[in-house]
Symmetry: C2
Subunit: 446 residues, 2 copies
């Protein structure tokens, strides 16, 4: 009898569990072992800020438990088992079991690395103090919720003005806290257009969130006081969110190529080592517009990487279509979304590009409810080829970014976008959808 | 000095006013005369059911008045002036002025026909009785609002189960009326899938609207009583909405080709007569997927026809990209949308096609608010080419039809749709957007 395929998966969140599930679905006989260094698998990490703000049950974010995976899918999930080394030539992973504190080796026929990333912590004195948090894994959210329940903090200082802290700002306000955001750079969301950045700052202001730029943090003193070049900020709660770092240290010394710590993969999510695949926050991902890999650690990318990488481990030959860089997030009652390139990014890529900005209603003229949304189109002057779009404004209207993501996928031009047959009915959209209004404006510059 | 271009436009609603505005914008010197048989121009007809239900100011639906067009755009709008004949060889329109009750001729260099359509009235005894209405033009809405204000009807009978009466059903309920819908055919929305029809019927039922199928109306007796083969229905208010009829009788005997009463146009909105263009509810429109003209009288189509037809009158050579048949409407708290072909339509067109139906949440797992939406994909078996999509469910989620409309425009396959980089964040979408869930399911049948 042939030996069953033995697949080891490092990391039990979006990418890893998707990969494990795909393998098991396609090859029933496969032995699939997942090594997860933490205590949770398969949860909706992106929902954590809202779970905190709405005081939800933290377990509501868990999609499937380790036990579910074992019982329902026959996947051997080993919690508190961390991959600490890899011998890719002899196909063995060195594992540390944090329960027993013992190390062991596990062999594999094929390996999927979905080891994720962790919050980057700046070298600031006092970041380990009580009341200072990061928010990356589910256990971080548990600790924050527990702290809020027990200590009832009133003043939140959020270090870093990325979208996690913007989401946290809304949710800390929801919990009744004063919120201050401290950002090292001179502005926020630098990969977005000025109009979006201004709108976000205005929405923060309108909701009583203070934001300071150009802030260098000296230390976080117990108590807590955040000492900076812009003065001292008192806090009962601090969250540090200044980027993430791929969990790939255990790959040092192997032949697996890394780029700034992230694993290099091809469009099949194969690494540079035989029979070893990777995806999710620990790896690069193929960007369709740029025709090269980028680092874009998002849940949706991780799920796709796991699904396709897992299928390929099981013998499929699925080529990943690539991302176009779509992101969306909520800032209080506004939505902010981007797909493709910003104008600056487009110019850096060598495009002779322009942008158009329009603001238009989200429902028909005279309809009882009317929101507003702004649409930015970035396109190549010579050809009118769409390069990117940013959409922001009333929460209800920013879904339009998905239409632009489909347009980017299809290499549409501004003229094509003018020709889209978008739905019209007063409660849903105005007769000239904001997307078409933007295209009608942009066409003048082509 | 050269004589200025003289352009006559028949009809002052969406198509006509868009055409007139385009001409004037492109050729400042042009003399543009709009002949409108009614008393309103440029209004949001699709908003009428909601304006009635929310007791809005009827003038809120008017985008620009005849006076506005004269003053702001230099367009000579003649209200109560009806085109009653055309001499296309000598380029003259015969006009009846309903104010003075006199007829006159007006010459043109170029003509745009946007004469619209009217509600088809079945030959039922009593359709002219007090309390029996149709709803097509703004003045219809005025009369209905006036009737409701004065008579306070309690029982509405809506004849025909098309989307106008479905929208009216919601709004009559909003005004506190009992609502009964009577439909001649055995079901509603026959150009949609069974799953959509069932969902609409359930939503009507959940909101206390009665609906009867296979109803032949014998007469509407004063009082009112609607006498049918399914029994008598008492009513204080009746709306008849059983389709529309193009206003093209004045073209009989001309060389302008009609098809079932609708004006045949090419992709430039040019009719079969020299220098005469047409668009909107009186004309056919090019369908991109079918590669032929269809009759689809919708506001969004009329606006595009007017805009492009007007530009071409002014010397542009804009080819219309074509519609893909996108429609959307609200039924109480649900949304219903379609783009492209239904399965039955696809099969009629000769495709070996299949459909997939999935239901998925509209927000992330564990998010505080969660709606549901169903996505139907219709595709060709051999190639996976997308042929159509229908989306229905919670109001907030059906915008996804616009992504599918963009996919149809771009001839995407199911595999392409799997590859779309759609936005993910808990308040906006689940990590696997319903569109991707549907594509992941559909790919199994390709």
């Amino acid at each position: 009898m042939e030996k069953p395929l033995k697949v080891v998966v490092i990391g039990g969140d979006a990418a890893g569990m998707s990969a494990a599930s795909q393998v098991k679905r396609r090859i029933k006989s496969a032995e699939v072992i997942v090594l997860e260094k933490g205590v949770d698998v398969s949860y909706g990490a992106c929902g954590m800020p809202y779970n905190i703000g709405f005081k939800g049950d933290i377990d509501a974010l868990v999609v499937l438990t380790a036990e579910d995976f074992k019982k329902k899918r026959g996947i051997d999930v080993r919690l508190l088992n961390e991959a600490i080394g890899l011998d890719e030539k002899n196909k063995k992973v060195l594992v540390k079991n944090h329960s027993s504190n013992r190390e062991y080796e596990i062999s594999f026929d094929k390996l999927f690395i979905g080891s994720g990333a962790r919050s980057a912590l700046p070298p600031i004195e006092g970041v380990e103090n009580e009341g200072v948090f990061t928010l990356k894994v589910l256990d971080d959210a548990r600790k924050i919720k527990d702290f809020i329940d027990k200590k009832g903090p009133k003043k939140a200082v959020l270090i870093g003005a990325g979208f996690i802290n913007l989401e946290l700002a809304e949710n800390m306000k929801r919990l009744g806290m004063d919120v201050v955001i401290l950002e090292k750079l001179d502005d926020l969301l630098l990969n977005m257009e000025e109009e979006v950045r201004d709108a976000v700052k205005e929405e923060l202001k309108n909701n009583g969130v203070e934001i300071y730029f150009g802030v260098d943090i000296d230390s976080i003193e117990e108590g807590l006081v955040v000492k900076t070049n812009k003065g001292d900020f008192e806090a009962d709660f601090v969250n540090v969110s200044v980027g993430v770092k791929p969990n790939t240290e255990f790959l040092e010394g192997t032949s697996i190529q890394l780029n700034k710590g992230a694993i290099v993969v091809d469009r099949y999510f194969k690494t540079t080592a035989n029979d070893i695949y990777a995806g999710g926050d620990c790896a690069l991902i193929y960007h369709r517009l740029l025709n090269r890999n980028v680092y874009m650690p998002l849940g949706t990318n991780a799920n796709k990487a796991g699904r396709i990488g897992g299928a390929n481990i099981a013998g499929a030959e699925k080529q990943f279509a690539g991302i176009v860089g779509t992101i969306i997030f909520k800032v209080f009652e506004k939505g902010v979304a981007k797909t493709g390139l910003s104008l600056e990014e487009a110019i850096k890529e060598g495009y002779d590009a322009f942008k158009t900005v329009i603001t238009a209603p989200t429902t028909a003229h005279g309809y009882v409810h009317q929101g507003k949304v702004s649409v930015i189109l970035i396109a190549e002057i010579a050809t009118g080829k769409l390069l990117g779009s940013q959409i922001f404004g009333d929460f209800e209207g920013v879904w339009r970014v998905d239409v632009m993501a489909a347009a980017l996928y299809s290499n549409l031009t501004i003229k094509d976008i003018q020709g889209l047959d978008l739905a019209y009915s007063p409660p849903f959209a105005p007769v000239w959808d904001p997307i078409i209004v933007a295209a009608n404006q942009a066409i003048k510059q082509v």
